[in-house]
């Protein structure tokens, strides 16, 4: 067993647990030591127990395929990722700051548009974006908050610093797996907790409840909160049910709701209609209300936007919040922080070159072999060029594309994602990972302790999505002198 760890290659990337010298980082030492001491059979038994726990707890996600939808067991790696509380506190403050600025921005964009008038952000990049929803103009949700739940993807670069890669402001998912990963570790490696003071993660549903309850248009001790899911075939259905149960809220589908003549939203219950105060929607806004958005949506509730504008129901995240969830807008977040908060950004963004700016474009065209070029309005990794991996012909092709339509492209330096020891078959190997913490915002702001760590299981790969074979790790924020 010990030999396995000795062969562990170190030094080529920042590793979360192992130093370039090959020894465990101080904060990871007790955990690594315990794992090293486990006998081969014992370790195998723990891994089997983890798999069984996942199946029995029914922790799953849905994969769409030609053969139908498959409910797959959640992929989990036994070796936790360990981060000190000292380091995390800095990240947390950076995320809180970011969330405040993003919300001020969204509220500004749909109301006074001062940031355009003051020339900080060019109006057209926002107003021409498909993420800008005209249907939301003039709305003023409570506390001026639009993105109540934000999942920001962080990566740790080879310099050891965390960077925000993107902010997911529409329907970010994954938080239930963060909670379940801890539960699994507790079940199968209970002794590992003896030497640590690890911040708990299972209070997320109650924090979410607090965040949502503060939005209720009616003053009530227990507002009626509903989690709106597209239904059982959605890949995140497990999470929707998990959160509804954790909050003691109703899990509803579009057909369970209707908007009455009084422009209030009601649930159909066995005791008759019941008015809903807050909807935590886990459905894309385009499908939310056939009256306001896509007419062909069968998942939504007709009149929901009417009820929202009338202030009779709160919707989280507010429709339209995705306007700040855009690669071009991303480049302006540091400026937003300075503009709205008069503060310096506390967490790094990846430097982003906007090809629409002349000086940026010149730099990008001169350095294509070093940069990652991304289309501004695509998601899911389509149309991306990774400079160092692309050939000269591709460089040329992208140079032409950029010159033809500079507004459509952005470029970023290639980042070296950190790694952590991960079980691959019987061996322990370094694998790249990211981290998605969740930021809640309504009356107050709250950030998860850690978040969901996703692992790219293929050697050298940076694809961490579970739908594409990515794994996950329990993520610890550890207090004390370590």
């Amino acid at each position: 067993m010990k030999n396995r760890w000795k062969k562990y290659p170190s030094g080529s990337y920042y590793d979360e647990l192992i130093t370039p010298k090959g020894t465990p980082r101080q904060v990871a030492r007790p955990a690594v030591k315990l794992l090293q001491q486990l006998q081969e059979e014992d370790l195998e038994a723990r891994r089997a127990a983890a798999e069984l726990a996942i199946r029995e707890m029914g922790v799953s996600f849905t994969v769409y395929s030609e053969a139908g939808n498959i409910d797959r067991a959640w992929p989990f790696d036994l070796i936790p990722r360990v981060i000190t509380a000292r380091e995390w506190n800095k990240v947390r403050r950076g995320l809180e700051q970011r969330s405040r600025a993003l919300n001020l921005f969204i509220n500004d964009v749909y109301n006074k548009q001062k940031i355009f008038a003051d020339g900080v952000v060019p109006a057209e990049i926002v107003l021409d974006s498909s993420n800008f929803k005209e249907q939301c103009i003039g709305a003023s949700p409570r506390f001026g908050v639009w993105a109540h739940v934000c999942g920001s993807d962080l990566i740790r670069n080879s310099d050891g610093h965390f960077y925000v890669l993107e902010d997911n402001l529409r329907v970010p998912s994954g938080v239930s797996y963060m909670v379940e990963n801890r539960e699994i570790t507790k079940r199968v490696l209970p002794e590992i907790f003896e030497n640590y003071s690890i911040l708990p993660v299972d209070d997320y549903p109650s924090q979410l409840y607090r965040t949502l309850a503060a939005l209720s248009p009616r003053e009530r001790k227990r507002p009626v909160i509903a989690v709106l899911t597209p239904g059982i075939y959605n890949s995140a259905y497990f999470e929707h049910a998990f959160l509804a149960q954790g909050m003691g809220a109703e899990l509803v589908e579009g057909a369970d709701l209707f908007v009455g003549e009084d422009d209030c939203v009601y649930m159909r219950t066995v005791d008759g209609p019941l008015r809903v105060d807050v909807i935590y929607r886990r459905i894309d806004e385009d499908f939310m209300d056939p009256e306001a958005f896509r007419e062909d949506s069968i998942l939504g509730v007709s009149g929901l936007m009417r009820a929202w504008h009338a202030g009779n129901v709160a919707i989280a995240n507010a429709p339209g919040a995705g306007v700040a969830d855009d690669k071009v807008v991303y480049a302006y977040v540091p400026e937003m922080i300075k503009y709205y908060l008069k503060e310096k950004p506390l967490i790094r963004s990846v430097p982003t070159y906007l090809c629409m700016r002349d000086s940026d474009r010149e730099y990008v065209l001169a350095n294509l072999e070093k940069l990652v070029v991304k289309p501004a309005n695509e998601s899911g990794g389509y149309g991306i060029m990774v400079g160092p991996h692309a050939d000269a012909a591709t460089h040329k092709k992208f140079a032409r594309l950029i010159e033809k339509n500079p507004r459509n492209y952005i470029a970023q330096p290639t980042l070296a994602l950190s790694t952590a020891p991960t079980f691959i078959g019987d061996l322990i190997k370094p694998r790249h990972l990211d981290l998605r913490p969740f930021i809640l915002q309504s009356r107050d702001c709250w950030v998860t302790s850690g978040g969901l760590t996703r692992v790219a299981m293929v050697e050298g790969s940076l694809v961490v999505n579970s739908s594409q074979g990515g794994g996950s790790k329990d993520t610890w924020i550890v207090e004390g002198r370590l």
Partner: protein, 312 residues
């Protein structure tokens, strides 16, 4: 706490499917037991199981030959067949999966474990050797689910609809078992005397009623007494009368219960007037038919009152 109509329908069906899985397992186990006691040449046909479950068309779509192996393969090994135990378990699990937010965590885990067990064991359990273990496991595990529901679920709508589902399913299954059990035994009586007490013993056993019957009535199992026991014994939780009593108690606690309550009352009155005296096989069968129709009407009344709510 109120409950979404859609969720109410799903927990009701979860109750029915859990009960159906258990009852089907009891039924098969009882016949499995019986078959070993009967002298060769007089064994009741395995087909009777298919008849009880109204599964003849399903059977024919899967197999041609009606023998033990095929009957058991259908009921234990075919997750796709709507009359099978694994099908009932899958359906129960799907219903729990979509109502986890109103049920205790343990219920989901237990039903999920039941599903995992059944998916892994069912195909291997068609043969006589493993069959009994599988059936016992299904019965035990469904009982554990019931136990957790009883001891952890709030007596609110979720409990009420699960219970209604279970009671209606159980009443339905009890009438089926008596009906087909009876007709098979009648057709056999002309052939051979002296084994009908074994068959009626099996009927009672499949309803877990044999021990209770002995204590209440006596060691000798007789047709009339057995039928009356299964239909009417007010203290036996699997008797039709008991189920109806409980249904009425649950309905009492609900709003808009008028129509369902009326149907339940009608069934209870039917049972009150029932006696096996002077009852030929045809009359018994006719009575059971009427009873089943009424139970189905009760189900429809519940469905229309609480599950198919449309906005006004």
């Amino acid at each position: 706490m109120t409950m979404l109509s859609r969720v109410a329908a799903r927990v009701y069906w979860m109750g029915r499917y859990i009960e159906r899985a258990e009852n089907t397992a009891r039924l098969v186990a009882a016949y499995n037991h019986l078959i070993m006691d009967i002298p060769q040449g007089s064994e009741p046909s395995w087909e009777i199981l298919i008849k009880i479950l109204d599964a003849e068309p399903v059977f024919d779509s899967f197999y041609k030959v009606r023998n033990e192996q095929n009957v058991l393969r259908l009921l234990i090994g075919e997750a796709e067949a709507i009359c099978s135990i694994p099908h009932a378990i899958n359906a129960a699990r799907e219903n729990v999966r979509t109502t986890r937010d109103v049920l205790p965590d343990e219920v989901w885990e237990l039903v999920n474990e039941l599903h995992i067990y059944s998916a892994e064991a069912s195909e291997k359990s068609v043969g006589r050797r493993n069959r009994q273990v599988y059936l016992e496991q299904i019965i035990q595990r469904t009982q554990v689910v019931n136990g957790v529901l009883r001891s952890t679920l709030c007596r609110d709508h979720s409990y009420r609809f699960i219970k209604l589902g279970q009671l209606i399913e159980r009443a339905d299954m009890s009438t089926r078992i008596v009906d087909v059990g009876a007709s098979d035994i009648f057709s056999r009586e002309q052939l051979r005397q002296g084994i009908d007490h074994l068959l009626w013993g099996a009927v009672l056993r499949s309803l877990s009623a044999l021990g209770a019957y002995r204590r209440f009535i006596g060691p000798q199992v007789e047709k009339d007494a057995a039928v009356e026991f299964v239909f009417l014994e007010p203290s036996f939780p699997r008797s039709v009368f008991f189920c109806l009593q409980e249904v009425r108690e649950e309905l009492d606690l609900m709003s808009n219960n008028r129509i369902s309550q009326r149907v339940a009352e009608r069934i209870r009155r039917m049972l009150r007037g029932f006696s096996t005296e002077q009852l030929g096989p045809q009359e018994l069968h006719g009575f059971i038919d009427d009873l089943q129709v009424q139970i189905n009407i009760l189900h429809e009344a519940i469905n229309e009152t609480w599950f198919l709510t449309d906005p006004g």
